[in-house]
Symmetry: C2
């Protein structure tokens, strides 16, 4: 009988792009090796990886990158998935929209020209955030405190993780106006396995 | 008996982000309304859309945005999908990696500072492109002229559409060095339904 090896999630010692697959594993009680590389280890390993980026997911000698793709795969295994193809489309669509907003945010923070960065940040806070968050909040209302499919799915997990990042930029005071989105985050964070993980995981800035 | 309404794909009169779902429909002989908005129509319709972006996919009174999510949904319907969950992870992973490369390209072209744009373009052509294309080419070799799962999937369609964009930037001479990637594109473009569509579709710059 072949012995199954514990799967591995490899990333840096941040929540970042690995927190979504980690959270899904914790929710579904999938045992995994939570490998956190320092910069020195990463320099050694990087040339051996598929595209020189993390996180990586390994299972039975197979390896894959891309956080969202890995998360979709794990979500299906643990039941954080849609009941039919249209529900999965709804989930995928809102996941990609949340990712779009996160990308807009990280682009502003990577801008090197300080004048442009200040101007971009103002657009982000005063235009982009309200535009997206109002619409996402309506979706959360229509789905009874979930991001899609009127039930708990990995889209809720994705939003709950991004919430902290959005609140950091737009201000917690601004975020709590979006009551249905707060509900999504609170729903996820009140799950026992998630609550435990949030207590026991390494404390990192982001 | 309820009458099924023809699904709609709404976008501008470009290939752009709508060409992947269009191509998948053409492959699978899903009849759809190919709606192409001019800027005036778009200004009217935009406030009524989920997130003010195109393409949109409509089916039986339901509507969704996000090109990749829509494409995954349609791909499953027409059999351009993996045989198991790991194959679908492979497909999703390489699709997202191809999208990453396309995003790096569009970012350079959106840069407004001409000096920075020239420098970024040099990095793109001399470092980013070779790095990604060598690795993607190896994947295509391992998958016998496909991007994943050793068979024709929607990841091949995604690459075939992006190929033209990559060749435009890196030069057709550079692209043809990646023989396995050329094979992926040629495989897709030799399918009868795709060949017909490429002949009959509106001629647009991109």
């Amino acid at each position: 009988m072949s012995q199954k090896v514990t799967p591995k999630i490899t990333y840096f010692n941040f929540r970042g792009l690995a927190e979504l697959p980690r959270l899904i594993c914790k929710y579904g009680k999938i045992n995994f090796e939570d490998i956190r590389l320092n910069q020195e280890d990463w320099a050694t390993i990087k040339p051996t990886t598929p595209f020189g980026v993390l996180p990586l997911y390994e299972e039975d000698g197979k390896i894959c990158n891309q956080s969202i793709a890995i998360s979709r795969y794990l979500a299906k295994r643990v039941g954080l998935y849609g009941d039919d193809d249209w529900e999965n489309l709804e989930i995928d669509s809102v996941v990609d929209t949340i990712t779009d907003l996160r990308l807009k945010l990280t682009q502003v923070f990577r801008e090197e020209d300080e004048t442009k960065k200040a101007a971009d940040q103002e657009v982000l806070i005063n235009e982009t955030f309200p535009y997206y968050l109002e619409r996402l909040d309506k979706i959360a209302a229509q789905n009874f405190g979930h991001m899609a499919a009127k039930k708990l799915t990995w889209a809720d997990f994705h939003f709950a993780i991004c919430y902290g990042m959005f609140a950091f930029i737009a201000g917690e005071d601004t975020l709590i106006k979006y009551k249905n989105l707060v509900k999504v985050k609170d729903n996820v964070e009140s799950i026992a396995t998630i609550k435990n993980w949030m207590r026991e995981r390494p404390v990192t800035d982001f």
